[in-house]
Symmetry: C2
Subunit: 339 residues, 2 copies
């Protein structure tokens, strides 16, 4: 029924995933070790909440991007893993504050942190991880690294605020949507790649190209996330689908469909956004069919593909080799994943 190019016509997906994992497995282990080492301190609650959310099994994409970027830029040392977890901490801090925000009850197949410990603890542990990220970065004694982290944090908070303000608006402009995802997702991935390049002693041009790779990868990543919320399955994603719609959050598939629909359908969607989620799966199924029919899904995938091309293009200044291939594989995989 739903037939998007990447999701049905990519027989190479499994082998690509396997190839990525084979190459990055040692680094993923180093990231996990460093995360475990960092998340302990004098306050048991902090350890418990941090461990809970960190153990919830993210992909560690941001730390991994930092490490791979450093390697691509020639980094040979062993201080990359320690710095890389700063990006996971910033990411997790955002997830924690996001849990307060949207009253999320399930995240990655486990109860959201705030339903277990309350908003208070969750906000504070988020703050703690945020400051911990900065403390880690300070050890590297490079103001460019501090700046990259602070700017990313600044943009992320702006993105989250804009997203909050946009809630309930079905008539969002595409540009307004991109303003949000640029900040809330792309900024941190871009910073991770930038910092990796800085650690690797890259030139100004290389640094900007790595940052550009991370930026476009981040946009593509979020577009696919938003797409999967329409076409994935709860089992694959580890969270229910249709959540964005239920939260009255307009993402690109819906925005595209809305802008290409007549008065009748616009009124229908606007009313659904106004009334809020009634939890009727049939309603979401109707919405999903409408989004597909109008081309919102295919369009979103197309734009994601374009950003993957841009990410790939940004790497052209680097010579071929193992780490470049891994980063190219990650870009390809991002837009074709099912979870």
């Amino acid at each position: 029924m739903i037939s998007l190019r990447s999701f049905v016509e990519q027989p190479n997906q499994e082998s690509r995933k396997k190839r990525i994992l084979e190459n990055v497995y040692p680094d993923l282990l180093r990231i996990e070790q460093e995360l475990k080492k960092q998340v302990f301190g004098p306050v048991p609650l902090v350890n418990t909440v941090s461990r809970y959310i960190i153990d919830s099994g993210g992909k560690r994409l941001r730390p991994l991007l930092m490490i791979l970027s450093a390697k691509l830029c020639g980094y040979k040392g062993d201080r990359d893993a320690r710095l890389s977890v700063a990006f996971e901490f910033l990411h997790v801090a955002t997830l924690l504050h996001d849990d307060v925000i949207d009253g999320a009850e399930v995240r990655r197949n486990r109860a959201a942190a705030n339903t277990l410990w309350g908003n208070q603890a969750v906000v504070l542990v988020g703050d703690f991880l945020y400051s911990k990220a900065l403390m880690l970065a300070i050890e590297y004694d490079d103001m460019r690294i501090m700046k990259a982290l602070a700017e990313a944090a600044n943009l992320m908070s702006e993105g989250e605020i804009l997203q909050l303000l946009n809630l309930g608006r079905a008539d969002l402009e595409e540009s307004e949507y991109f303003e949000v995802i640029r900040r809330k997702t792309a900024a941190l991935m871009s910073a991770a790649c930038r910092v990796g390049a800085i650690l690797g002693g890259a030139s100004e041009e290389e640094i900007e190209n790595m940052a550009s790779y991370g930026y476009h990868l981040g946009i593509a990543f979020q577009l696919v996330d938003d797409l999967l919320d329409y076409i994935g399955t709860a089992e694959e994603l580890g969270k229910p689908i249709g959540r964005d719609f239920a939260e009255r959050k307009a993402t690109l598939p819906l925005i595209y469909a809305f802008n290409r629909s007549g008065e009748e359908e616009r009124t229908w969607i606007s009313q659904l956004f106004k009334d809020g989620d009634k939890g009727d799966p049939n309603t979401f199924n109707d919405v999903r069919k409408w989004v597909e029919r109008t081309g919102g899904l295919a369009y979103t995938e197309e734009i994601a593909r374009r950003h993957v091309s841009n990410a790939t293009e940004a790497l052209s200044v680097f010579p071929s080799g193992r780490w470049k291939n891994v980063l190219l594989d990650i870009a390809e995989y991002t837009v074709s994943r099912r979870f």
Copy 2:
């Protein structure tokens, strides 16, 4: 009825306050101008919430401490005000996250931010101001400044978490209480003074002494805050008294009284802490009388005075002069203020 040394036997308080204000008035104006300049951006909600909480009229003590510390260490430039607002931003971010935390309904005579905009916006605007503080600090291109800010933020989040964990415990140790206030209050004031000294080009020894002044001032400041919650009036404080008790937060006056009471009174207080606040003013009045009778109020004031002495002592390495006098006046005033 309640007769503490400083609060009745200090006829010089008004003239001291006047003297401080005369000396720092131009700097307070510069801080306000800089705050107004900094709190605007592309997102109206951020501006509104930030302005609301910043306009709520704090004392600007932290930015002022930074500026005065810089001046005492010989700073002659005009970049101090800009950096100083980073400390107000960090402070305000904590207040905002604190509003989520304790469900506070009134702060500084105005409704708490979360009752006006909801937890979501309040958490995010706090994050925004936090990152804004870092962005400002980065302009000064000094890793010692970044470190001071990050460490303060880290300690503050630990302090808030410890405080949350201690809620409802009437049998708190004094040392546990000090673990909290060292982090949640003294750390930021100490960082403000440290950064001022760094900006002023001070020696290592001078920097540590300024940081020590800020630390002891911060402890004294919090002790007096906690004291005023027992002996102040709502009109003077701009917030209801007895709030700590109502929130089942044991502060030094109560901890001291509890440790010096017999089984009967301990059971009475423990039960009140267990039941939570029933909003009965007579109950709090009884508690207040008990705390006074057992010497909890006088003891708290005594400890605050000792920290003021330590703060004063830390300044002994600096030559006499206008700015040293102002800092000494602030220390004296802190422990004698009624609001």
